[in-house]
Symmetry: C2
Subunit: 585 residues, 2 copies
Amino acid sequence: MKIARRKELIQAGLGNLRLDLLIENIKIVNVYSGKVEPGALGILNNRVVTPYSFGYSAKRVVDGKGMYALPGFIDTHVHIDSTLLTPEQLSTVIIPHGTTAMFADPMEISNVAGIDGLKALVASHEKLPYNLFIEVPSRVPTAPGLETTGGELGLEEVKKVLKWSNTISLGELDPSKVLGLKEEYLAKVEVSQKLGKISNGHTAGLNEVELTGYCCGGLSDDHECVDYSDAIRRLNLGLSVLIREGSSERNLELILRGVLDAGIDTSNLMFCTDDKHPDDIQREGHIDYMVNKAISMGLSPIVAIQMATINAARHFRVDHLIGSLTPGRYADIILCNSLEVIEPFSVYFHGNLVAENGKLTVMLPPLKYPAFLYKTINVSKGKDPHDFLVPANGQKVKVWVIELVPDQIINKRNRAALEVNNCFVCNDIQGDILKLAVVERYGKNGGIGITYVKGFGLKRGAIASSVSHDHHNVVVAGTNDIDMAICVKAIEDMQGGLAIAEGGKLVDCLPLPIGGLMSDKSSLEVIGSLKRLNQHYRKLGGVLNAPFMSLSFISLPTVPELGLTDMGLIDVHKHELISSFIPND
Amino acid sequence: MKIARRKELIQAGLGNLRLDLLIENIKIVNVYSGKVEPGALGILNNRVVTPYSFGYSAKRVVDGKGMYALPGFIDTHVHIDSTLLTPEQLSTVIIPHGTTAMFADPMEISNVAGIDGLKALVASHEKLPYNLFIEVPSRVPTAPGLETTGGELGLEEVKKVLKWSNTISLGELDPSKVLGLKEEYLAKVEVSQKLGKISNGHTAGLNEVELTGYCCGGLSDDHECVDYSDAIRRLNLGLSVLIREGSSERNLELILRGVLDAGIDTSNLMFCTDDKHPDDIQREGHIDYMVNKAISMGLSPIVAIQMATINAARHFRVDHLIGSLTPGRYADIILCNSLEVIEPFSVYFHGNLVAENGKLTVMLPPLKYPAFLYKTINVSKGKDPHDFLVPANGQKVKVWVIELVPDQIINKRNRAALEVNNCFVCNDIQGDILKLAVVERYGKNGGIGITYVKGFGLKRGAIASSVSHDHHNVVVAGTNDIDMAICVKAIEDMQGGLAIAEGGKLVDCLPLPIGGLMSDKSSLEVIGSLKRLNQHYRKLGGVLNAPFMSLSFISLPTVPELGLTDMGLIDVHKHELISSFIPND
């Protein structure tokens, strides 16, 4: 803060300077004491000046009508660039739910377009109606040598971004870098520590000894716990737990049930969404959804609010800026009528009313993304059905199958025996064994990786996406090669997007022209398109809640057990390419 | 940590490298989960590798005999240079009590000898058997224009020290600088925030509005709460509370009783000593004393331990280094047999046994202090009894009296009517109104400030000290001018120390030749001398528990209500010099 501004704040605190705003007649949830106190909130510039009303005068006085005032909620780990919306448009869905701080790891745009992409994504951060803090992507690409990406962030780029004032941490570092003793990544952790910042972990699927080795790497937390057993093992090793509820990663209930039963200390627990599509946010909520679910499970409302606010701010070392409604912090405030079910009535950001009654009340900054981000898809393979043919000898082959785990990001390594017809492997649509392909899209080498997937449930057609973690090549799953090719072609034509095809025709699509990741349309339009796409998917036999989210994760080469990139099938534990065919025993 | 060391740690975590030490058969207090788990502690280099025993081999295995293992305790705010001991010698009294981290504000030596003094004090920090982290003195001198000091720390010096790797915060910034909108000090807070570090507060005696204004200054905590009402008001304003038990500042009971009764969240509470003499540490303990007292008052042992460990580490943003027994953190460990009364049996620091059964088990680094620190006392006034004469007209005068508050650092502004004899004001020994003087000792201007004090209880003689906060001129309280002069002379002869005189003779003394603050002798010798001095004091009628600690604070010009410096009597609230005489109404 500029010294002149600091002086004004102190003067205002002393009652010597008129406040901008005084919200009177409220009950303040104090996350430091854990108590609710009647009071007021005095605001100057963008900060809280006082929780008291006595003796203060203000340019504007608002009657809080006895409502509760809570600090704005914090999403501690989110890939803003995998919500399908721009940071600007995201405001319309998260702000009405009371989220006023996003700790965002812009890994996706960095994989597509490197540090220039990252800069472009966060360029609007000072104009947004929420705090956008950066978790610097630690691993771009995620799986060097095992995937093709558009951009890279080396040690020097990471150092540079770590020094930005709105950077709060080194983003999720996956185990292979740490356990593989990769110098570049250990150096990134070291730089972050020297700058007083934490390093976020990412520990899906590690056994006890691997987890121990990983923790020795200097990481501070994990957001990949799927149940209580995962969570308590992380806490025992000194990792804070960022409990996650995304579109297809549902971890809260299984973790919190155990926390409540065992009476675990909650001060190292907080919330995140990681990856949540806007239709799901609109339908059920954002961090408020997690807070309410926790309360409904028996957690004290104050403790749930602490998890969504001060716990997060303290862990990320920004408790002097956000996480509480106390002097000097940003005036990010939720007003609501009940603590049993928290429904934000008014939301203030930096002292300004930004949402009321579920609706955004401010204009968004205009979208301004550089031209290079609109031209990122250049596909060679995958537009011709023949590209998807898998030749084989004999009458049957045994293949590895990536089996989806409903509502989780992890998958299972399964196996199937598939028929061979006319020297090519057939899908087993009855058995829900579909073909899965990842097509290189950066115009670099025209690669294609093909394997099999179980869990999508399609009986006809194909679906595809240019959002496919973390490399963001084009991923496509289908019952037949013709519809798969149509989807890929459509995605190139749109320069990124989601597509669904059936009977040799494109059925529906959602263009995502910004980096092939984000729409340049309003959240309402995107949500409408997503709902329509999901309905089409279900008409084709689909069974998943968030099929395009699941599709985007199926290719991830760092989350167990299998991944698929443009280079082929990945054994995540071994961090190596393997054949889709199972060798004869 | 060097990358090579980090790699070793990870390798050890994976079981690929032999540990230095494995402490087996223990029950680990996990401060993250709040639970006790059976386990082991594997250590490599100076760090914890694992809380598990499975599969690990070690060069040395120790049987923990079923004992509890807790993280070493943290003193969150201490003036190491006002313990009378050097940092080296301090080890012998704190380590056996389980304190393995001192967050030290070396304000005293900085007032005496500036940044060179500070550097000399902490020069041994890498060789000490405890972690010495620096809270950078924010206000040297404490009361510019109202006192004479030997050194100063301006914005540039503070910036420099804030960048050191073992610096954790900007040290206690007193209200006058913040509420007075002093640019230099607000800039120090800003620099600290930019470096990702917190700024410690110091808010004794502020009313609600002043406190609010102060909090707007960007401070993070306070260690000056004397009771629950103080503490809850700080928490409400977003200040963490560093609960203090020093030699003459006893705040724990009054704060904790209220915390327990009201069910206040404890995650923003931690412990400190601020100023505690080695005889008191030896007699009752250090942070362990506070932990045990808290447990005896009804706090859960785990919560008390959290307050002494992780809460402190997290608040000061060093939870990646200390505060828990988890991978990657320093192996600072207390082993003890009970959690009901915690008596450290073994203490490990950085993986090495440093105390057992109440005794230090390691050699201390040799004392190496530069010559300039041994030559800091140069007194003009005060060696001649006439210097203490206070001339007055009439038969009686009304004077301001600094009245001690037992066991607290604050004092009361009282008044007395004193007789005038032969044109000079008389003490009122029956009424315990003694003369108090502060003598300039840096050879700069030969100033002397004189007023009156109540609470020492002396019936004969005088006591004096070259430790007198924060300017550290020579402070002397007495029943007569002759004994006062003898004390001052003795302190100059010793180049610093404590002295007690009676009947025109020096009765006893303790030389403190390092900066006039610290002894170069062993802790045992210092404790012996202190006990003897205290006995002499009591023989002369004294009633205080820690008279030299009380004496050292009586002159402080920043703690209400009155202070006394070499320039005269200070109205702390108004931050200005006032006459000792009360004008006629």
